[in-house]
Amino acid sequence: MANGTIAVEGKTAEVDFYHVKGKYKGILSWLLTTDHKRIGLMYLSSMTVFFLSAMTLGVLMRLEMLTPGETIMSAQTYNSFFTLHGVIMIFLFIIPGVPAVFGNFILPIQLGAKDVQFPRLNLLSWYLYMIGGGLAIFSLFVGSGIADTGWTFYVPFSIRTTTNVSLTVFAAFVLGFSSILTGLNFLTTIHRLRCPGMTWFRMPLFVWAIYATSWIQVLATPVIGITLLLVILERAFGIGVFDPTLGGDPLLYQHLFWIYSHPAVYIMVLPAMGVVSEIIPTFAKKPIFGYVPIAISSLGIALVGYLVWGHHMFSSGISDTSRVIFSLLTFIVALPSGIKVFNWVATLYKGSIDVTAPMLFTLLFIFIFSIGGLTGLVLGALNTDIFLTDTYFVVGHFHYVMFGGMGLIFFASLHYWFPKMYGKMYNEKVAKVAAYWIGIGFNVLYFPMFIMGYLGMPRRYYDYLPEFQTYHIISTVGSWILVSGILVMVFNLINGIRNGKKTTDNPWGGTTLEWTVPSPPPLENFEEIPTVTTGPYDHTHIHKQEVKN
């Protein structure tokens, strides 16, 4: 049996969590729920809205870059657009993405638990998430408009500009709170609610990844909380801690900002790596190669992530000594990341690989993320970074690691756990076409940015010299391909929810505990808490249950 459980066969047909009659009916049964599965789905639907709106902003920005000079928007609008695009994508999609949606839905089931440790706190996190998101959108329409500082809110500009920085910053602060509470909840859940026999090294690797992520959420997010609070106080009362005219040191703002925001990069990508470690053994039909190194490397990445923030400040004027130290430390990050990639590839070796839609997204991820990682080395090296900083090379690298890392794996997880979440199956053919489509659009959109950046195209300008136009046109066309691919994928999934064929408990032949429960799972996941006797990727007794036509 999956995850080596001593199984209780012959389950009675239990009502799934959608149809359980609880205290509340209709919309209230969602808004007041403490069921981790419903909360996960609420995150998913709100996140889809945020993602699609930020994506629209991105498309409009690309459209502006089609020709030099003003194409469809003014410089000020462009500044606000890239700020809002960054704030929504980072704080509302990339950071909470995988943990809030799939961590909530899948993690308790993978642990053999009925729910998370603090179900009501879990609901509160969702409300804070919505309030934060609402405030960010709200700041568009009040005062003198949304911040034009970029998502980094660098001082002194952020304390001088007349736009509505305080409200946008406060939105990020609230979102940070939501992130902290989610992390705290998962940590306690993993420590306390593992089912009998589920020792630390029998936990699925997704759980390990979320564990490492949650530590970063708890131990790094407060630093940005206080930093953003100081920006608000600075704007309101002129306390001076960052203002150079009063004696403050703006570089300290950058230090504090990146002390959070660099580890936050691993909040974004670690859960995605965890999902990859789930998908690959399932579709290679082999136990994962190097379970312990992958588990430990998650913690390793989390730890090393704290030591390298200075590489965002190479050209800001920090001391030479610290630049050399940070550059050296930055290369260390490649080690645990490399361990993961090599172990994934080794798992595929001699596997019986089934290239389904989730697997296709995952393979795409390995390809694209490797490009992102290698260009990261170029930026992590001090000498090349001085040359490339604040150019499109950085923008390209950022999207290759963030969108290519977290974004693609978010899509992969959607396809992988879709049958478990909805009990139905999407159209596999369309999903595969969408995956290829997205892969092509992605590279057409972002690869020219490396070349442009290398040639000196600076980022965050709505205008450019005519010699860059060819690359900008290619890139903009790429954005159309990418977006149409994403829309095809989204419509295919929505169609799957509505009209998809009914699926089985274990359509992929997955080995972890979530594949032992019905699709969709009943209210408390397990009729009887399972007892685990082996590691998570034991395929010996797994039988894939084909979808009946």
Binding site: V15, V20, K21, G22, K23, T34, K114, D115, Q117, F118, P119, R120, L121, I180, G183, L184, N185, L187, T188, H191, R192, L193, V218, L219, A220, T221, P222, V223, G225, I226, T227, L230, L233, F237, G238, I239, G240, V241, L246, G247, G248, D249, L252, H255, L256, I259, L523, E524
Partner: protein
């Protein structure tokens, strides 16, 4: 679905929330305390940096603060921490009345601390030593940094005192209603943990702001 299974499900929903795990609840509280440590940690990093940059100005600015006032507040907070612990011991010994008495002392100490703080801040404001205040503008950059941090750090700390008082007040109400008892005291202990952390932060703030020469 039959009526029976429906009630069974309802009971189960109830059970999830009633599932009691004191260890887990304490773990959640400790993790939350770490976020508080790192929240103040950011400010301590700023303090260390500016003290390094403006060492002499910090010493001059610190002479504006009253060491006695700070010391008195330290003693008050330490005492309030003691009474919280004694309250826990009293409740464990099933002495509800004594427990509530100790917690009342904590509340009183907390309020006394805030009153002192109010007079301290008030005096500074009176002398024009506040952000953008006339006296502070005549001082050097180091002094501006010192008082900027002083107001932010003691202000945020004061805010935590208020939150802690509310937390303890809530716990007292639950003790009165016998929700928190000699065998079910984790909430009281959690409020104690929070209060002690606020105390620890003051243990560092006191020498760093008042005792520089």
């Amino acid at each position: 679905m039959s009526q029976n299974t429906e009630t069974a499900v309802q009971e189960e929903i109830h059970e999830i929330h009633m599932h009691r795990d004191d260890f887990g609840s304490k773990m959640g509280m400790w993790l939350f305390l770490f976020t508080e440590v790192l929240l103040f940690g950011g400010l301590f990093i700023l303090y260390a940096s500016y003290r390094f940059i403006y060492a002499e100005s910090f010493a001059i600015a610190a002479s504006e603060l009253d060491v006695l006032m700070g010391a008195v507040n330290t003693v008050i907070l330490l005492t309030s921490s003691l009474t919280v612990v004694l309250g826990i011991v009293a409740l464990q010994k099933n002495n509800k009345k004594l427990c509530l008495f100790f917690l009342w002392v904590t509340i009183a100490c907390g309020i006394l601390f805030l009153v002192n703080k109010y007079f301290e801040w008030g005096a500074k404001f009176h002398h024009g030593i506040y952000p953008k205040g006339p006296a502070l503008q005549d001082m050097g950059e180091g002094e501006v940094m010192y008082f900027g941090l002083y107001y932010v750090m003691t202000g945020l700390h004061g805010l935590h005192i208020i939150v802690g008082l509310a937390f303890i007040g809530f716990v007292m109400w639950q003790i009165k209603k016998d929700v928190i008892t000699a065998t079910n005291f984790q909430k009281l202990e959690n409020s104690g943990l929070y209060w002690h952390l606020v105390d620890i932060i003051w243990i560092f703030l006191f020498p760093l702001f008042y005792l520089i020469h």
